[in-house]
C-alpha cells in the first residue's frame, strides 16, 4: 500500500474520488514530512501559511462537485523565482529578502485555476545563476540521495523536493539545464518545454531568450499532465507560441516505439566521461532499440562551442535583466548581491559594452544560428536525439566554489538544446556510485508529444523511478 507521499497525480485524484483520503490529509502529511526533513536538506525557503485553509476549501469542492479540474488538490513545490501572491519570493537572493509579490506569475495562475495547492517555495541558485543550488544566499540544498552531494541546479530545491517526496509535483525553470540537470542528479523526471510554450510572465527573468518554465515530478506522466496545464499563448508574454496546446497525455502508454527514429549524439559521449556513465547511456540506447526504435549514432557540433554561446548570451541578458534591482521600488540595495550574481552581471556588461559587442554578443548569436540550423537538419531525419544530461553524477558540496564558470561547464550537454529553444525530457536511467544518472530525450520545437512518448515508454519498461529512504540518507 503506497504512502501518501508516494502517489502520482492520478493516484491522488483517484484517492480523492474514492474517499481514501482528503486533501487536508495529504497536505498535513506533507507538512509533517517537511517539518521532519526540511531542515536537514534545506529544500523549502518559505511555506504557504494558508495551505490548510486552501486544502479544506478543496475538500468542500470535491464533496460538492467531484474532480472537475485537472490538478485539483495536487500539492506543488514551486521554485522561488515564480512570483506567488501571499508567499515571499526571493529567487534565493538577499536582495529580495522579505519581498511579497504584488502580482502573480501566469503559470502559477494556471495551476491554481486547475486546482493546484502550493506547499511552499523551493531553494535555487541565487537568481538561477548556477548548476548546484550552492550559490543560494540561504545555503545549499543537499541531495536527498547523499547529503554530502549537491542536488544540481538551478532548480535544485524543486528536484530535491520530489526526490525527498516532500511534494507530489514541482515547478522549475530551465535556461540551460536548470530543470534537467537537478532532475538527473536527484534521480527524478523533469520536462523542459519548448521556449515560448509556457509563459515567462511573472518569473524572475534570467536569460530572456532562453528561460523555459517546466515541471519536475515522479514520472513522465506527471510532467506531461502539468505541461498541458501550464502551456499556451499568454497575451502578457510576447514570446509565447500561438501554437495550440496538444493533449500531451495522449502520448503516454505507447506499447512500443516502432517507427521512432532516435539519434544518439556521438559528441555527447565526452572523451573524459566515466565509462560507467557512458555505458548507462549506451544501455539506454539498447533498451530503446528493444522497444522498437531505431537508434543511430549521429554527429553534432562539438558541444564545447555551446558553452561560449551560452555564457555570452545568458550573461548579457542577465546583466540587463538585473538592472531593475536598484532598491528604489522594491528589495534591498545592490551591495547584497552574491558574488556569482555580481560576476555574471559584470561579464554580461562587459560583453555588451562598446567595442566588445561585435566580438562577443553578435558572434555568439551567429554561432547560435549554426546550432539551431544543425538541429533543424537533424530533425528532418530523426524524431529525437539522446545523450546524458550531465557529464557525471552529483558532485560534492563545495564543488562549485571558486569555479567562475562552474554552471556553464557542467551544463555542456544540455546547452545546445536550450540554445536552440528545443524541448527535452530528463529522466533517470541508472546509478553510478549509488547516485542517479539522467538521460535526456530531446525533440524539435513544439514536439513535446514525441519526447513524452519516448520517455514515458522507456520509463514504463525500466525500473529507475526509485526514491531514497531519508531516514537512512539524512
Amino acid at each position: 500500500m503506497k504512502q501518501l507521499h508516494e502517489l502520482t497525480i492520478k493516484e491522488v485524484l483517484d484517492g480523492y474520488t474514492n474517499k481514501d483520503f482528503t486533501c487536508v490529509d495529504l497536505v498535513s502529511h506533507f507538512q509533517k514530512r517537511i517539518e521532519k526533513y526540511n531542515h536537514k536538506l534545506n529544500i523549502y525557503l518559505a511555506l504557504n501559511e494558508n495551505v490548510l485553509a486552501e486544502a479544506a476549501a478543496i475538500d468542500n469542492e470535491i464533496a460538492e462537485k467531484g474532480i472537475t479540474r485537472p490538478l485539483l488538490g495536487i500539492p506543488f513545490a514551486v521554485k522561488d523565482n515564480f512570483l506567488t501572491l501571499g508567499i515571499e519570493t526571493t529567487a534565493s537572493s538577499n536582495i529580495l529578502k522579505g519581498y511579497k509579490p504584488q502580482y502573480e506569475s501566469t503559470v502559477i495562475e494556471k495551476i491554481k485555476t486547475a486546482g493546484a495547492i502550493i506547499l511552499g517555495k523551493t531553494n535555487m541558485d541565487s537568481f538561477a545563476h548556477g548548476s548546484s543550488t550552492e550559490t543560494s544566499d540561504f545555503g545549499a540544498t543537499l541531495n536527498p540521495w547523499n547529503v554530502e552531494k549537491l542536488p544540481g541546479g538551478s532548480s535544485g530545491g524543486s528536484a530535491a523536493a520530489i526526490a525527498a517526496q516532500l511534494a507530489t509535483v514541482a515547478l522549475g525553470s530551465e535556461t540551460a539545464g536548470s530543470i534537467r540537470q537537478p532532475a538527473a542528479w536527484c534521480g527524478v523526471t523533469g520536462l523542459k518545454p519548448t521556449y515560448g510554450r509556457a509563459s515567462r510572465f511573472g518569473i524572475i527573468a534570467m536569460g530572456s531568450s532562453l528561460d523555459s518554465p517546466g515541471p519536475i515530478g515522479r514520472s513522465v506522466e506527471d510532467c506531461a499532465l502539468i505541461t498541458e496545464v501550464i502551456s499556451g499563448k499568454d497575451p502578457k508574454d510576447a514570446t509565447t507560441s500561438p501554437s495550440p496546446v496538444e493533449k500531451y497525455s495522449e502520448n503516454l502508454y505507447a506499447s512500443d516505439l516502432r517507427g521512432i527514429r532516435i539519434g544518439i549524439v556521438k559528441e555527447y559521449l565526452l572523451p573524459d566521461m566515466r565509462e560507467d556513465v557512458k555505458n548507462l547511456i549506451l544501455d539506454a540506447a539498447d533498451k530503446l532499440r528493444l522497444l522498437g526504435a531505431t537508434v543511430d549514432e549521429i554527429s553534432l557540433m562539438d558541444p564545447k562551442y555551446a558553452i561560449g554561446v551560452y555564457t555570452v548570451i545568458q550573461r548579457s541578458e542577465v546583466s540587463s535583466n538585473l538592472a531593475r534591482f536598484d532598491g528604489i521600488r522594491f528589495g534591498h540595495g545592490r551591495s547584497v548581491l552574491c558574488e556569482e550574481t555580481k560576476r555574471r552581471i559584470m561579464l554580461g556588461t562587459y560583453t555588451l559594452s562598446a567595442g566588445y559587442y561585435d566580438a562577443f554578443y553578435k558572434k555568439a548569436q551567429a554561432v547560435r544560428t549554426k546550432i539551431v540550423d544543425e538541429f533543424k537538419e537533424i530533425f528532418k531525419t530523426y524524431d529525437a536525439v539522446i545523450g546524458a544530461v550531465s557529464p557525471g553524477p552529483a558532485l560534492s558540496v563545495g564543488a562549485s566554489k571558486n569555479q567562475p564558470m562552474f554552471g556553464e561547464m557542467e551544463d555542456i550537454l544540455v546547452e545546445p538544446s536550450s540554445i536552440a529553444g528545443l524541448t527535452s525530457v530528463g529522466l533517470p536511467c541508472g546509478f553510478v556510485d549509488s547516485l542517479p544518472i539522467g538521460l535526456q530525450i530531446t525533440a524539435n520545437q513544439l514536439k513535446e508529444g514525441t519526447a513524452i512518448k519516448i520517455a514515458d515508454c522507456f520509463q514504463r519498461h525500466t525500473n529507475y523511478q526509485v526514491f531514497p529512504d531519508l531516514d537512512k540518507t539524512t
Binding site: Y195, G196, G308, T311, R329, V367
Partner: protein, 107 residues
C-alpha cells in the same frame, strides 16, 4: 584571434556601468576570472560565421502586438505599487538626490 586580458581598470569601469560597488579584492578577482572566461568564449572564433546571420528570436515569431485598450484590472492601486519600497512619501518613491537642482526634471 583576439586574445584579451581584462585589466582591473576595465573591471572598475564595468562595475560603474553595472551600478555595482566592488571591493578592491573583488576587482582583482574578477579581472583574473574574466580573462579566463573570455578565453573560453574566444573559442567561438574557431567557427566561421562570416556568412551567417544572428539569431535574435529563437521561436520564429514576428509582429506580436496588443490592441490599444486600457486594462484597469492590472493597474496596481497606489498602496500596492508603493508597498514593497523602503522609502516613500505622499504617494511618491523617494531616493537620495543625485543632481544638484531644485527644479522639476524634464518638461
Amino acid at each position: 584571434m583576439h586574445t584579451v586580458t581584462v585589466t582591473p581598470e576595465e573591471v572598475k569601469k564595468i562595475a560603474k556601468l553595472a551600478n555595482l560597488k566592488l571591493q578592491d579584492n573583488e576587482v582583482n578577482l574578477f579581472a583574473g576570472q574574466f580573462t579566463k572566461t573570455i578565453e573560453v568564449v574566444n573559442e567561438l572564433n574557431e567557427i566561421d560565421t562570416s556568412k551567417i546571420a544572428e539569431t535574435y528570436q529563437i521561436n520564429g515569431l514576428s509582429n506580436i502586438t496588443r490592441t490599444d485598450e486600457v486594462d484597469l484590472e492590472n493597474v496596481l492601486p497606489q498602496k500596492i505599487a508603493l508597498r514593497e519600497a523602503k522609502n516613500t512619501h505622499n504617494g511618491f518613491f523617494v531616493v537620495d538626490r543625485l543632481i544638484d537642482s531644485d527644479a522639476e526634471e524634464l518638461i
